[in-house]
Symmetry: C2
Subunit: 512 residues, 2 copies
């Protein structure tokens, strides 16, 4: 057994059985080992941003890490933006980054770079594995680090991969989440029972269906509002789920929403701040006098903490309010974000996974789809665009029996458009809706909001991705994905119904 084989064996033995890969020469022994060690499924992506975004989506749906396989520093670099997003999502993820043989590094060959330097801003754990004797334990340590909800990066020297290796590692045990202190529970109870306006702000594990049910009990008992961040890692919503209010994207609206709240209880979330700074607008969104309670962080045992809190406010026996199914009529007339939302809400099948990177066009989608059939909703977490289509790809690999709907702004879609090819190769059950408005519409809004006055032709050209318009049908077909274009609601309804009725990838270019 060589180092690469021992690495894969260790990964598989510890439940890491899915690899998103874009290998190069220095990873050839890992690639060869895929046939020598059973149990690892490797999925080829044609760009590393797809690799890392898919690993994020996979982790959100399975709760366990996929590994990536990346080629040296530049391969890792191409995946960094979606690793930034994955870091913000707090998902477990293990990068395997190949490196030159250790004796080759000092020669400074063209592809030599500071891999750990590239990895550092996104990784909670980094290790060079420079010996076949340590590769198994290095891999196990990497998995353990990833399971803490962070990016672990293992840099695998080529000679480690090809050298004889027989060492083993102790099995990885996932640490249980820590317990919330009694004093924190007491303080939170006091706030909830104060009679003053309270809100519970959720993200991460706290927006699972199970957690939401407990929060729903607490809310019904105490009157606390249930909020979620503007962008959520994975939110259970729709009919039968406990409803949450989302904090608006624009700072002014968020400040207005949060203004009345006297106690804001954070569960796997942070004190809300504006996405960007704007001249003359506060960056901190809660009112200055708001009492912010950090109830539980992602590293806590969230369901257990919520159960304790429910108990503390005597809500355990309460039945929470849930959303009743209410499907909109099919829209007619012009196609726009609102009509697309109605059509989605009408047709979305039960248990669908929605991956949202629709940006400006998608701002209406959460309220419109609030009372449709039960589904999971996944947002881009770090704000780095180009995460949606890879995330949908990874979610589909994770959940082969569930339909995935990928709601995608056109500008953002372009960053990691190669994801479509992997969806075609793996015949993934993903319906992609491209909101084709031919512009960076969010930037046209933001340009005014930051006070950049009197934009001229040169400025507006930088926000306009028309001239030429992108033909998404051709691009999708070029990557092997069936595609069609809708310019009216009637056309969109027909295409969406068809896309949902069949299995396999399809793209709808929705001209809005």
């Amino acid at each position: 057994m060589n180092g690469a084989e021992n690495l894969i064996r260790t990964l598989v033995d510890n439940g890491v059985d899915t690899c998103f890969a874009n290998p190069g020469t220095s990873e050839m022994h890992f690639v060869a080992a895929l046939d020598h060690v059973p149990g690892m499924r490797s999925i080829l992506c044609l760009f590393e941003g797809v690799v890392t975004g898919a690993a994020d989506g996979y982790a959100r749906m399975t709760g366990k890490p996929a590994c990536t396989l990346l080629h040296l520093g530049p391969g890792l670099a191409n995946g960094l933006a979606n690793l930034h997003n994955a870091r913000r999502a707090g998902v477990p993820l293990l990068n395997i980054v190949g490196d030159h043989a250790s004796y080759h590094l000092e020669l400074d060959a063209p592809l030599t770079s500071d891999i750990a330097g590239f990895a550092s801003p996104v990784s909670g754990w980094i290790r060079h594995t420079n010996s076949a004797h340590t590769v198994a334990q290095d891999a196990a340590d990497g998995i353990a680090a990833a399971l803490e909800g962070q990016i672990a990066t293992l840099i695998l020297a080529a000679d480690t991969a090809w050298s004889e290796s027989s060492s083993t590692a102790l099995p990885v045990e996932k640490k249980p989440g820590s317990i919330v202190a009694d004093s924190t529970i007491a303080r939170t109870r006091t706030a909830l029972q104060s009679g003053e306006p309270c809100a519970i702000l959720l993200n991460g594990q706290a927006t699972s269906q199970a957690s939401l049910e407990i929060v729903g009990k607490i809310s019904k008992k105490t009157g606390a509002r249930i909020l979620a961040d503007t962008f959520v890692t994975r939110l259970s919503r729709g009919a039968g789920c406990v409803d949450v209010e989302r904090i608006p994207y624009f700072a002014e609206s968020a400040i207005e929403m949060l203004a009345p709240i006297k106690h804001l209880i954070l569960v796997s979330s942070k004190a809300p701040v504006a996405f960007f700074a704007y001249p003359g607008i506060e960056s901190v969104l809660a009112a200055p006098e708001c009492n912010i309670i950090e109830f539980a962080q992602p590293s806590h045992n969230i369901p257990e903490a919520l159960l304790q809190l429910a108990d503390a406010v005597s809500a355990s026996g309460v039945s929470p309010e849930t959303v009743s199914l209410e499907l909109p009529e099919l829209p007619t007339g012009a196609l726009n974000g609102e009509s697309i939302g109605q059509s989605l809400a009408h047709f979305m099948p039960d248990n669908v996974i929605v991956v949202n990177e629709a940006i400006t066009s998608g701002m209406m989608l959460p309220p419109i789809t609030r009372a449709t059939r039960k589904h999971d909703w996944l947002d881009t977490m770090g704000g780095a665009i180009g995460q949606g289509m890879p995330c949908a790809t990874g979610a589909a690999i994770a959940c082969p029996d569930r339909k995935v709907i990928s709601l995608q702004a056109d500008g953002s879609a372009m960053y990691t458009v190669q994801a479509l090819w992997t969806q075609a190769r793996e015949n993934l059950d993903v319906v992609t809706v491209i909101f084709a408005n031919n512009r960076y519409a969010i930037l046209q809004i933001e340009l005014m909001r930051v006070g950049a006055e009197n934009p001229g032709r040169n400025a507006m050209d930088m926000l306009d991705i028309g001239r030429p318009n992108i033909n998404w049908v051709k691009i999708a077909e070029g990557m092997g994905v069936e595609a069609s274009r809708a310019t009216t609601s009637a056309e969109f309804n027909r295409l969406l119904e068809y896309a949902i009725s069949r299995k396999g990838p399809m793209l709808i270019e929705a001209v809005v």
Copy 2:
């Protein structure tokens, strides 16, 4: 005048008048300033790898830096692979990376990241400009740093961009290259006159037509062979140019080529090493007993140093050998790397710029095009694929009166396929030839060469980018670029002749 306007004014005043851009909210004041300060041309790219690769191509053809405009850490991260390549090319390049307003940073908003950390592995110079009072001098210092042949990264806080700014900077003066020591010239002369086999290994500025003519004189006088690295920044070649031998890519062949050489004289190059390590093969390519002389580094005044050396060996009055025009007949029959090379050599117009990222399919192209009309040849320098099409884009912006031919492997093309859109928007005169073999052919070779034995189905799947085959005609048309497919030499000849005869971007999918 605000900080963004002062920044652009300083850039333009110092000759940096071209910006490759993919902006976001934190760069909106820079974007608005494009209309308030005259003289900056900004070119929108739909992915940051295109931005940075285009800036590389632009710098190679103009000798001066373009600036990039990148959105926060993730925007920079997406451009890092081609910044790695640009670093290896030793080109001047100035990144402008927007950052949150300084007071917003501590709030750790979703897009906050360690921008300097991302920049560090590729940048020779990094500065945060956190005050509108220093932005002009910061920009001038960045340009001066870039002009030393390195990547300079200026991190521009949003509040620096929007605050009032009236400061100015002293004009940037480009430092002249340093002079090679007399002792080095004497030592080199001794080697050249030793009667033992000598070779002069060139790259960077030493492969310009003017430098090559001097090297040609030295070669004719002393019998030294003229070599260039496997990959060159910009090589003048074809009819009327001094001929050079290229070091082969595969280590075994390179070792064989270099074995007889007793004195290897490096001019803007480094002692040659294998691209990758292979079990049982030397990584250092020159013979152990070879005398390696570092004659001149990129920071030297290369033409001046070569003139001194020519003088020292009494070669100044010699007429160098040059290549005579010899065009191949048009190929017939099957389409493959060799026949495409013949067709190219036949049709390439005078003074064309060839950007080569054809990888395996392109290995035959340099010898076949050796005696065609005079042209410049640009390779990917750092080995990070996805540089070719962006580089061609930047070269075409730099040289609007010259045709650009972009020779592109299909696997590599996928990484930065968005470059085609910018070629369409700017109506750039670029003919892209996609060598569509539907596989990572180089990796199929490398898999065997690194000794990874008995590859099975899983391994081979990772090297196969068919299933589905990529339809490059549709992808190009989807981005607004005219495209057609050739499956025979006759079809390719006809398409290439047509593409060269017209102005504007066109893509030929060559099925090989």
